[in-house]
């Protein structure tokens, strides 16, 4: 192993000291990253192969495969609004992925992001149309209300876990169903838009005050050379999502809270003897997860549209789990995974518009990615662990 020299104050450094003190050499780091990227690459490849197989089974023609690939490429990436769409659709997915990931870090499975953002969106919608205040106050309050809604809904499973030992997987899912009931009730009753047209699927709140709305990023993008249509669905929430991802990474890696979260999440039995209050950490992680979850649908409610609609609860929470798994719970990985899934959504529209293949073929590819990625990461983890052990033996 090549190591950097590092001077030490000791007159006689013990053997191996330089090795110990040295940081990991760049070559080794690059190799490590390469191995980490291997798993997603293999997983994407398998997803593509299975996508092709599915098209061949359904349509029995290679021509359709070429059509689909072409549509995914040209429409998915190079349609006039595609980049705006991808960034815009990635925004809720980043929040959802981060919400799942922060809980993951503490060893918790928050499958309740779906219900948490539903309640968050309701709360934000309510504050958005009910309150009148200047933007400087109204907008932050609306966003905070969204986060508070998520926190509220995450608090129930968190409390059940801490005080009653109930496993969060089942309780968060149950909370999703209860959230659905709350949503139906409030949107058809207390928060119903008096001017609403149409049936149950169109249920919505009254319009939100302009003071509670977040602006579109289209003017910004167009000012730097893009040519998006004015209605393209990308707002400043995208920037907020990136900031959230950066803060998440820093928190996990550089703060004591993140350190203790990781101890709890990777080896819960070591947490208490190290002075970490497991229950307090579980509460914090779950509530933080709920707070981030509360942001998921806000772009739809106070950015792209101007009201909360039943339609906005559309499975981001479950996709968020996939994003967190694919992104290995790292901030950068989550952003990348969200962009990928968002691209697949966009490409799906292209397939629907320009080919004879059902556009849902991309949802199969997403599912395959999820299933193969968990296996691929596990295989890579074992490979790395074996290599470490081998190196350990070689030293011994």
């Amino acid at each position: 192993m090549k190591v950097e020299e590092k001077p030490t104050p000791q007159p006689e450094p013990e053997p191996g000291f330089e090795e110990v003190a040295a940081r990991v050499p760049w070559g080794q780091r690059l190799r490590g990253w390469g191995i980490q990227l291997l798993a997603p690459a293999v997983s994407l490849l398998i997803a593509a192969v299975i996508g092709v197989l599915v098209i061949l089974i359904v349509q029995q023609s290679w021509g359709d495969v070429a059509d689909v690939a072409g549509a995914m490429w040209s429409y998915g990436l190079f349609n006039r609004n595609s980049v705006a769409f991808i960034l815009g659709r990635a925004t809720p997915l980043i929040f959802a992925g981060l919400a799942v990931a922060i809980a993951f870090k503490a060893g918790l499975f928050n499958i309740g992001v779906e219900g948490q953002y539903a309640i968050g969106a309701l709360a934000a919608g309510y504050v958005g149309y009910q309150l009148s205040a200047p933007t400087a106050l109204h907008l932050p309050l609306t966003i905070l209300a969204g986060m508070a809604g998520g926190v509220l809904w995450a608090a129930v499973p968190a409390l059940l876990k801490v005080y009653r030992g109930a496993h969060e997987v089942i309780s968060t899912i149950m909370m999703n169903f209860v959230a659905n009931a709350v949503l139906l009730y409030l949107l058809s009753d207390l928060m119903k838009d008096p001017n609403q047209q149409g049936g149950i699927a169109q249920q919505q709140t009254p319009p939100i005050e302009p003071t509670a709305q977040v602006g579109s990023m289209v003017p910004f993008f167009n000012s730097i050379g893009f040519d998006f249509r004015g209605s393209a669905p990308v707002t400043w929430f995208f920037v907020l999502a990136i900031v959230a991802a950066i803060l998440y990474s820093l928190t996990v890696r550089r703060t004591r809270f993140g350190f203790e979260l990781r101890v709890l999440g990777t080896n819960p039995r070591a947490a208490e003897p190290s002075g970490i209050r497991s229950n307090a950490m579980i509460m914090k992680a779950m509530l933080l997860s709920g707070a981030i979850a509360g942001l998921v649908a806000l772009q739809d409610v106070i950015g792209i549209d101007d009201r909360m609609k039943l339609d906005y609860i559309r499975g981001y929470g479950f996709t968020g789990i996939a994003i967190a798994l694919l992104g290995r719970n790292s901030g950068l990985g989550i952003v990348a995974a969200a962009l990928l899934f968002s691209f697949l959504d966009r490409a799906s529209s292209g397939i629907g518009l320009n080919t004879d293949v059902p556009k849902e073929v991309t949802s199969i590819m997403q599912a395959v990615i999820i299933l193969t990625i968990v296996i691929a990461y596990e295989v890579v983890r074992r490979m790395t662990a074996r290599r470490q052990l081998r190196e350990q033996h070689e030293r011994a």
């Binding site: 110990v20 703060t255 101890v263 070591a270 208490e272 002075g275 970490i276 030293r395």
Partner: protein, 527 residues
């Protein structure tokens, strides 16, 4: 070498020599990812003998036994069973060859009954795959009657004692018709009196014509019961000798390759005033009082050795002292501060350090970095973190200090902790706790799993800490360790301290009597 040794042994084995040996290994080699665990092993175990296998940790005993039982396969060489070369590729195959193994950590299904445990994998069939439990219980009852004290086939395994569990393990082998029995450190979990019983059982098995290979811990025990002894070192067979022709010194020397014996480590300091005081602590778990009004004090500059059979309240006492459980009654003081209800962090900040019994599970996070592991438990202190932010440089610096000071072999401080070998992980935990500048150090079985050299090192560190004024509470089931280090020895039995003696005056047999409850409990603790 093995052959020569056989000729000098007594009549049993030499008579057996005329037939093929029960087990013969020829040039057996096993490598793990670059390290040679077994190197050209030649071993011959005669039929009807008790053959002991001794060696330091990592000498290759377990690997060899695993190969005999089909849990691992040799890379080179061959294994002959009763004269026939065999490929033992699974426990199933070993069972077919009538080879059975009792693992050090029992392989029992706690929720099953004794009978279910014994017949599992070879169940009597009532027809059509139906389990014939009555037949199973009948057969188990029969087997148990022919072998030592009675055993209830209907009892759940989790409800019976350790000694009985071990007999269930042995019955499992007999039920399968095994006549070559491998016992992996069978005495490690037993008190001296139970060890006697086990040895009686082993002699009875031998009289019934069984062959026993046993991996041993204590050399005295080996000489008591074994016919022949094979010594392993660094994966090689050093020699096979007849027990009658050797003594502990000679065997120990063969094991470590130099004349070393553990002896009492004397320090310079004399104990001062009380540092830890425990008064009338009670803890109930599962409806049973596991700590029954326990009193204890440990002084400055003192090593207090807590002896006792495992499961008499040691684990619960440690948890109550560290702050993992809060006792129902009683008080705990550290340096005159009451900490009875304080949480772990408060206690650590007040000067407590803790080396958990299960270091890999409770003292480390193997997937996290070596550097991160070297501040685990003190992560909130400056300079490792300030205002909630970690100082990664300071953390790395601490890791380097520990690695140097405690001779930890680590590839780099930014490697994950699982890249360290077990012994080095343990040294890292010990070093970390010593380095936290404690007033009180609670060390639970600090040398378990370490070889002789590392054990000596840890003992030296404990004595140095004591000499610097630290109060050390040493919990150990290894009486040799207690006797070597403790200034004072307390015996815990049934959740109470039943005896207290000066370390220099304690003897193994006396402590053994207290540990089994054969004596004590009513008398006031002395010393």
């Amino acid at each position: 070498m093995a052959t020569e040794a056989t000729e000098v042994t007594g009549d049993g084995p030499s008579e057996a020599r005329r037939r093929s040996p029960a087990i013969e290994c020829r040039g057996v080699t096993r490598r793990y990812a670059g390290v040679v665990a077994n190197d050209q092993i030649d071993l011959e175990v005669a039929e009807g003998e008790i053959h002991a296998l001794v060696g330091e940790n990592g000498a290759g005993k377990s690997t060899l036994m695993k190969m005999l039982y089909g849990l691992e396969q040799p890379d080179e060489g061959e294994i002959l069973v009763r004269g026939e070369p065999q490929v033992i590729d699974s426990p199933r195959k070993a069972i077919e060859l009538r080879i059975g193994m009792v693992h050090q950590h029992f392989m029992l299904v706690d929720a099953f009954t004794v009978a279910e445990n014994i017949v599992l994998g070879a169940e009597p069939d009532k027809g059509g795959g139906r389990l014939d439990l009555e037949e199973a219980e009948r057969r188990v009852g029969e087997l148990a009657r022919g072998f030592g004290t009675p055993l209830d086939p209907h009892a759940r395994v989790e409800d019976i004692g350790v000694g009985q569990q071990q007999r269930v393990e042995i019955l499992k082998l007999l039920y399968r018709g095994a006549d070559i029995l491998i016992l992996d450190e069978p005495t490690a979990v037993l008190v001296p009196q139970e060890v006697e019983e086990l040895f009686d059982n082993m002699r009875q098995l031998k009289a019934d014509g069984k062959t026993i290979i046993f991996i041993a811990h204590s050399l005295d025990e080996v000489l008591q019961v074994a016919d022949r002894i094979t010594v392993l070192r660094d994966g090689k067979v050093i020699d096979t000798v007849a027990a009658a022709d050797t003594d502990t010194h000679q065997v120990a020397e063969m094991m470590v390759g130099r004349p070393v014996l553990l002896r009492r480590v004397e320090g310079k300091a004399t104990p001062g005033g009380p540092m830890l005081q425990v008064k009338d602590v009670r803890v109930t778990a599962g409806g049973k009082e596991v700590l029954a009004g326990l009193d204890l004090d440990v002084r400055r500059s003192e090593i207090y050795g807590l002896a006792g059979v495992e499961g008499n309240g040691q684990a619960e006492l440690v948890e109550a002292l560290v702050g993992l459980t809060i006792p129902e009654t009683g008080r705990v003081y550290l340096d005159d501060d009451e900490l009875t209800r304080a949480d772990v962090r408060t206690r650590r900040q007040a000067g407590l350090a803790y080396i958990p019994e299960d270091r890999h599970a409770r003292g480390m996070v193997l997937q996290m970095l070596v550097s991160e592991n070297s501040v685990l438990g003190v992560q909130e202190r400056a300079p490792f973190s300030r205002r909630g932010l970690l100082d990664l440089k300071a953390i790395r610096r601490r890791a380097v200090e520990l690695i140097r000071g405690f001779r930890v072999k680590a590839p780099s401080v930014t490697a994950p902790a699982y890249a360290l070998s077990g012994g080095n992980q343990q040294k890292l935990v010990l070093g970390r706790e010593f380095a936290s500048k404690p007033k009180l150090l609670i060390a639970a079985h600090p040398t378990r799993g370490l070889d002789i050299g590392a054990t000596q090192f840890v003992w030296q560190e404990l004595v140095e800490a004591r000499d610097e004024g630290v109060a050390v509470l040493l919990i150990s089931s290894n009486l040799e360790e207690i006797l070597a280090l403790a200034d004072r020895v307390g015996v815990i039995y049934d959740g109470r301290i039943v005896a207290q003696v000066r370390g220099s005056e304690a003897t193994m047999s006396e402590l053994g009597l207290y540990m089994t409850g054969a004596r004590g409990g009513d008398e006031e603790p002395a010393a």
